[in-house]
Amino acid sequence: MTHGSGSPRTIGVEGLSRVEGEGSLRVVVHDGTVTDVALEIFEPPRYFEALLVGRHFTEAPDITARICGICPVAYQMSACSAMETACGVVVDDRVASLRRLLYCGEWIQSHALHIYLLHAPDFLGCADAVELAERDRTAVERGLSIKRTGNLIMETVGGRAVHPVNVRVGGFYRAPDPEAVAALAEPLRRARDAALETVEWVSRFEFPDVIGDYRFVALRDPGRYPIERGRPASSDGLDLGPAEFGDLAVEEHVARSTALHARLAGRDPYLTGPMARYALNSDVLPPIAADAAAMAGLGPVCSNPFQSIVVRSVELVVACDEALALVEAYLPPDPPASEVRPRPGVGTGVTEAPRGLLLHRYEIDAEGTILAARIMPPTSQNQLTIEADLRRVVQEGLHLEDDDLQWRCEQAVRNHDPCISCAAHFLDLSVVET
């Protein structure tokens, strides 16, 4: 294939493998310069926002959980937080701890899946996880073992491993038996050891020498790593309440794309997710995770997107360690849920999904009917930053053959683990050169 000036260059692929969801990537090159990059993403939250209007406020956690098969707990937690804020309810400490434990289970599931089955093959010259398993069965088994521990937490606390059913506004339908929770301790100790091995494993990968100029946005939760609560903060000094952040975060339609692009009003695009969480919270890592990060050579901030796999592995240690501490301190909440009576109002909830900050905002009436819903997932917030990464990758890789360039683009997208959607389809890539 020739790529000379004037001859359109098009790379067509069935889809972007190892990324959840569907979408398309279109790159326009003019006289050897990338002039436009458009990552189009189908976003199910848009549909769910409309679906929620008219439903009862207690239905939001279970309905929104179905947006994503990978991170249903994140949707449940942000929905509960928003509704409880709207209704003026603060859950007790035991409920809060149990929520954090459940959320740790989801982090463990999601991070293990992405590290071992979706991202690691990029660094080891494997086409996919199957090839990786054929070449390094021990590694894949370790990853699946960690993921199964996440499943165990989800089953024990959430009622089942996929799409947990035990979460409700105000708390839980049923508090898990102490014996069942205590039984999680030993698997978690093994998972924590395996997570430490994971950090060591990925830290030996070879990473391109790339430094991204990122503006990080993540929650901060004083004294501990943010998961199920916190205040939105940024690497350039923002410190906002959830509602203020929701007001400042503007989602825009861009003419060339059907997807919404989030940015903070009057400011540059930003990045949320593991790299952002780490950059804003590395000072509150649990000691065992801080030691692992140091061993892996991470400083207090990591700006190389390819090293996101190392950061994600450190967060795997965080989640296992946090979960173990919560298991050992578990006291069943009694009652398992606070009573939440509807009242007219607006509530905003923010939590840290595995892929980044997830915001829900609801307006309800006196009967608890949802009047308006807004869901801002991490991927729409990261979209502009992912496009900026892609622009750089394509510009630096225009000399590459189509397959190699496509591979580089796929890696650039996978670095940020976008949850484009669940139950969805493909990403088509085309590069048009004029």
Partner: protein, 162 residues
């Protein structure tokens, strides 16, 4: 076989919020109930979640909506040879799956680590509408009772093969 009582697991793949994509979990749940099997795996939107759930089963029945060009509601049974035989090479995404990682890829992965079921039977229901929304299209809805009966038969055959 690994014992006198074969272990049979049934999974439903798909999302009820993508119309006909939700038919797999619906049929799987009803069939498991009618067969008295206990619990169903799913609804799963990612076949990767089968890992750990179907490990070393004697028979795994996976019910999923498919899109192959035949009449909506058409039932197709495909037996994928599991732990010991061959399975058609497929990428991480199976061509007939609406999900992120295809069933064939997951089976290959399970085989690579010796966690695959001995047998995998895929029960495919041809879908018509995979758009956003709930509810099945009429032709697919009409095919559900017969599909449930067929899955129940497969479960019973699997349990009888001690």
């Amino acid at each position: 076989m690994t014992g006198t009582t074969p272990r049979v697991v049934v999974a439903g793949l798909g999302s009820e919020y993508r119309r006909d994509d939700g038919v797999g979990p619906l049929i799987a749940a009803r069939a498991v109930d009618e067969a008295g099997l206990g619990s169903v795996i799913g609804p799963l939107v990612d076949p990767l979640d089968l890992l750990g759930e179907w490990d070393e089963a004697d028979l795994a029945v996976v019910v999923d909506a498919v899109r192959s060009g035949v009449a909506p509601g058409t039932l197709t049974l495909v037996e994928l040879t599991g732990a010991h035989g061959s399975v058609a090479q497929a990428g991480p995404r199976g061509a007939t799956s609406t999900h992120g990682i295809g069933l064939a890829g997951v089976l290959r992965l399970a085989r690579a680590i010796d966690r695959a079921p001995a047998r995998v039977v895929v029960v495919g229901i041809e879908g018509e509408d995979f758009g956003r929304g709930t509810g099945l299209s009429p032709a697919v809805e009409a095919a559900v009772p017969a599909a449930v009966c067929r899955v129940v038969d497969v479960i019973k055959e699997g349990r009888a093969c001690a």
